[in-house]
Symmetry: C2
Subunit: 894 residues, 2 copies
Amino acid sequence: MVKYVYFFGSGKAEGSSLMRNLLGGKGCELAEMTNLGISVPPGFTITTQAWARYTKAAQKWPESLWEQTTEAVRRLEAGAGMKLGDPKRPLLVSVRSGARVSMPGMMETVLNLGLNDRTVRGLAEWTKNERFAWDCYRRFITMFSNVVLGIRREAFEEHLQAAKTRLGVKTDPEVPAEELERLTQVYQGVVAEHAGVPFPQEPAEQLRLAISAVFGSWFAKKAVEYRRIHGIPGDWGTAVTIMAMVFGNLGETSGTGVGFTRDPRTGERRFYAEFLANAQGEDVVAGIRTPEHIDDLKRRMPKVYEELTTIADRLERHYKDMQDIEFTIQEGKLYLLQTRAGKRSAAAAVRVAVDLYRESVIDRDTALMRVRPQDLHQILHPKFDDEDRERAIAGGRLLARGLPAAPGAAVGEVVFDADRAVEWARAGQQVILVRAETSPEDVAGMYAAEGIVTSRGGRTSHAAVVAVGMGKCCVVGAGDVVVDEERRVFEAGGRTVREGDVISVDGSTGDVLLDAVKTLQPELGGEFREFLGWADERRTLGVRANADTPEDARKAREFGAEGIGLVRTEHMFFSHERIPIVREMIMAGDSAARRAAVAKLLPFQREDFLGIFRAMDGLPVTIRLLDPPLHEFLPKYTDLLEEYTRLDARHMERERLEVVMAKVRSLQEANPMLGHRGCRLGITFPEIYGMQVRAIMEAACAATGQGVAVSPEIMIPLTGTVGEMRLMHETTKAVADGVLAELGVPVPYLIGTMIEVPRAALIADQLAQTAEFFSFGTNDLTQLTFGYSRDDVAKFLPFYLDKGLLPSDPFSVLDQEGVGELVRIGIERGRHARPDLKVGICGEHGGEPASVEFCHRVHMTYVSCSPFMIPIARLSAAQARIRARQASEGAASA
Amino acid sequence: MVKYVYFFGSGKAEGSSLMRNLLGGKGCELAEMTNLGISVPPGFTITTQAWARYTKAAQKWPESLWEQTTEAVRRLEAGAGMKLGDPKRPLLVSVRSGARVSMPGMMETVLNLGLNDRTVRGLAEWTKNERFAWDCYRRFITMFSNVVLGIRREAFEEHLQAAKTRLGVKTDPEVPAEELERLTQVYQGVVAEHAGVPFPQEPAEQLRLAISAVFGSWFAKKAVEYRRIHGIPGDWGTAVTIMAMVFGNLGETSGTGVGFTRDPRTGERRFYAEFLANAQGEDVVAGIRTPEHIDDLKRRMPKVYEELTTIADRLERHYKDMQDIEFTIQEGKLYLLQTRAGKRSAAAAVRVAVDLYRESVIDRDTALMRVRPQDLHQILHPKFDDEDRERAIAGGRLLARGLPAAPGAAVGEVVFDADRAVEWARAGQQVILVRAETSPEDVAGMYAAEGIVTSRGGRTSHAAVVAVGMGKCCVVGAGDVVVDEERRVFEAGGRTVREGDVISVDGSTGDVLLDAVKTLQPELGGEFREFLGWADERRTLGVRANADTPEDARKAREFGAEGIGLVRTEHMFFSHERIPIVREMIMAGDSAARRAAVAKLLPFQREDFLGIFRAMDGLPVTIRLLDPPLHEFLPKYTDLLEEYTRLDARHMERERLEVVMAKVRSLQEANPMLGHRGCRLGITFPEIYGMQVRAIMEAACAATGQGVAVSPEIMIPLTGTVGEMRLMHETTKAVADGVLAELGVPVPYLIGTMIEVPRAALIADQLAQTAEFFSFGTNDLTQLTFGYSRDDVAKFLPFYLDKGLLPSDPFSVLDQEGVGELVRIGIERGRHARPDLKVGICGEHGGEPASVEFCHRVHMTYVSCSPFMIPIARLSAAQARIRARQASEGAASA
């Protein structure tokens, strides 16, 4: 006979913490606490295996399950000295769901099961509280009918409401016992009417039906949805725990409460709890009464308080983690109803982990595994004060909700173009840049702004990618925001917001709110630095930053970057003094004119590089040569066309414009992503790369002269053929060596390539014969491997994610089986040709924990990510190593 | 001592045909003929190994090479009874280059070496021809000085010119012996002046210098360029053959000629030769005298003629292939100077191969290997009469030269838009569609036209791809053609061509010519069909066609297609009666309106499919569901904008247009290639695919009812995730089975997918769990693997090909190491999950010989290509199998 039922009670349980998959989280911890000798109401748990059989057999109870259940009920009755259905001393039970991971509120619970027209009177007598008993019964009928029979709560509530109206009272507690007794009759009529059967009076039948209903609640729509979002397999199923009811509302020596063994907001070591005397847990949840400070309990029942804190301490030491407990005191006796690892803020998570290590409760690796890397966002960015945010929403100030593209919270005055953003920011104002969408020309404005809002685009749109890189709070795809650039207003949520009006942008939720919301600045405590120091000791994967300016480089270093993995040189081309020269270069009719324009850019680039080299003294800096197509530096054709049509009479202007328009037209591409860019540009217009390499090496020499240790790594973008690699290596080396010889300074440097097109990964062995390092550009590699344009993917990707056709956005989380497979192949083949090949990643994935773990697994040398992601990458890298070691130890010991 | 010199003469040679790599083509065949007892002037060949040593040692003669050379000269002198430098009986030799493959005219030759101020008199005496001797000497000085000393020919020619002027004569032969004698003095002065050294009188020195110069000519600019174009490795080097001179100009019993053992134009078996009595080979080449018919030789010297034809026959049998021979007759004695496989037209190649098999000279496999598949283009398409074409060019009628995009020759009246093309063609006129570039809207016009010319775009532009598919002659990227659509003219080559003017388009050369050029129609002879029948017997790889209409399907079947590998359903959407419905479908505001429009398309699609099924009775038909993004079916935004600005006052019209413009704008994509298309569209707008599947299955049922054997293969485009595949399989199957149940007809059908995105190849094992067949869409796969947009690649691909960064256009020839690697991975993984997986290719590569060979090697089930490519694919597939077997036999015997 399969054992489906595990009993716990009287200090002994058949289950334990180790049986989480079989008994669910709730069931196994109740068993564990029972075995620890902690006072827990007795009960038993029906296993997930029973659920599986039941489900597989199309809702037929598996053989012997009911027998085992009734046997367990008999044990429960014997222990409690009460009987299910006994009119004098009726045993009441709760029937609760419990999966192996917590799915709060997703599945069903039935309380006070065992009440019927007879036992309700026994309860009244025993508790000496008629009203309480009838209220329990009324609630039980409602809950049971809803969960088991599928009758809407409103079908009952309307009768309660009518009674209150008739009696002229406002709140439920004002409804007297007699009225509640009458309502239980009315309610049973409702059941008979809706369900076509009478309300089951027999407790055994109630129990059987409730257990079936809880089994079935695994497939409730909201539960299925929750599992889909959280990636919980549908075949795990739920256990069902049946437990004797205890009551906290039987007078002044009763009560109920919840508590954390440490402060969940800060991680401070103190018992952080709330208590409500003479109350049930429901009352706390319903918000009918305000919980009291835990000191009240200490004052009222010092012994119970002492017992409670002792148990809390014991549980924390037992589980080696901060616990979140629920307890009830029934007539002076303490019962624990639940214990689990407590949810906590990121700051608290770090502090608790560090403290538990210091208290010798856990080792460092365990401490490192206790913090979810992505939660560090909370610590690294400002955020809104929750209460003030709620107030703003309640006050109707929510203008729109877009996609949270880059975390943080920002408040500022609305501006509609980059120039004004820069201008106003210079004047000391805080601004929010609001645009339909952004383009590379907006970068300076984005930099100047506190936050960015766009009405179009997805999480991988230009705005989103650039904002993440800058660590700017950003909301994209806020479709309700209709921007009218000409009138300099936007409409949203039925309001018109003008330039200069103040808005608040929440990059973590996607909310755009009118007026200022109170902002909380992040604090990077000493524990945080110590914690990340441990991560650094543990990890083998390097962590570098993507940074385009000396300021970014300094910030990156502060966050712990061990080098720069990607300098995007094109970002340097967009500033006000340079873009005219860049356009001059593009408009050049011949090589000589182009060379002349390029020469003017050289000093700028040299200064840029010098600044970065100085900021990164002693660390490697990978510089990517110009990547985007030239037309990105020119105005848009439609804009020119509009300007042109407005220029009625002025012929001179029209002629000038015609030349630009012709150039723009000639550079237009059907698919710019797949066009004339990267090294294709570098090869066809060698002047540009020549200048850039010269600028890099001149800057390197200058830095060396200033005593700065420099090691530039020159990176060729978009290489796809061995011919390109050889040619670029040769021409780059010629210029670089030329400069070094000219200036007489020895600077060690490397020439490598990005791996961005699938072909590069496939022929990596050939490329590695010349390339001295690889950096996987997983943004482009993802676009090409999937055939998804990241600018256009919003048309179907949300639908795909919604329908489960993709597990996650591949631009956020590296697609390991497709893109990752190419990365794996690329590394394997590359190292086959050059065993010591340095390999990194510089796409947006370099700061995403699951992707970082993948990078560790495929033996990359380093990941490179936005400065603000660095701490996340450091922790992720450490966890990847720990997890890999645990897995190999697990495999070895198995 | 390394043997560098191989002697031949007196019926015995040290070399043979087998030593081609060592002795070069010319050297080894002269040795072979000598060994066959055929009369060849004696001589010797210096090996390519000597060249290699010489080159490696920086032009230093390797040890013993000169000794071996002088030893060979002594043997030559002994055999000939003449001596180099002997004033009485001077031996004269030629010094010729000869690589292992023929590089006609690329390297140097020196004739008449051995002449000097003394031997010239001996020659005069011996030949009894003073003028001849001095003319030889004059020419030798010129040639030697040019080849060996690098002195320009003009430096000598000007003196000859001056002499002729002075003497008042027009042609060289009129210059008398005394004047030539004087000129040899003048010429020697020129040498002394230009080279700073006297002209070398010593024959041994002449020889040594000439050999060195021929070695060096391997690196002449034109030779390097030629090797780059033809993919000949630079380290092969050249051999040098030194051979006794024979003279065909010593009177009426002397002469010279060239001949083919069969007619190189038709392949007919007859000795096809030209002869010139009392002349040297040079005279034929210089065009000074018109060669006579070979019958003249038969008449003049019947015995020599007999000997010649006997030798020709013997050589053909010996080499088992049609030969191209050169011969000289010196005073009644016949000498063979060269033999090699003769160049021939494609038609001749087929006929010769078939005849040689019938004559039991070669086996069938050898016959099949004798025809280059790509040469079949010549047979399959009309072509211009060469002479008339030359006349047109000479007459200044060449308007422009573009890229030859689709072979053939077409003559017709110029039209500038598709509508007019259709209209005029209906009226029975032959038209040529001339456009800046074409779009899918032009397809009907392209179909109606005889040929297509575009001024923009490369070989993989829309125009090129569609034209190849239609078998229409097409020239693209003719940049000199400036189209003015409004004025309905184009300017090119300084001329203005109006609509209605006649032009001729050569899709094999890229020429666009004014007026009509005489056209020759292809003839598919019986040998051709027999030959392809042999190919079918030999090949294991299937051959299908890409066809979108019943006419195409019929044509494909005629050419030997064994099924349809790709029906592009979108091509059916562009016709006049359908495009308004398609637009209605796109403009639909909701699903109901969309369904209504889609329903109107159903009967059209059903008819299309029914027609194709009937044409392919008994053969499988693979139908791809809608692939392109919806915006391809709407007008271009810029066109709408222009129309809009012209619509000044008419508000109604503007309002209508505004709606369309808004839709077009909303559908615009940054990178349409990577956008909302293929199954992404099918998934988000399920109505469209639902209609298409219904139309396919209804047509299949109808065809079955008509007694037609149908097996449709429904193909999902652009699948990249297993979720897409599963969903599409499920929904497709539901509709298909629904129709079959509804109509009560059993039709076997398959559901499979295209493999177009790299990710699909990487997860092929997962896809094959549901997909019943794969078809590699190598056009898109190439775009994504390289990251090349085929619409934009013209900006850099020509440059890449020119610089050798890519060996060939990857859109024409499948890139085996990159794209092919993904194909290989995809097949391997797909068959791992489903061992009997049917695998095909349906990109443009399916008709390209090297790509077909690759497809055979990776065990594809079939290739699919344009109907006109089918014969090429059939032959390529047979050759692939033969080559593979030869390789494995070679490996086994090694």
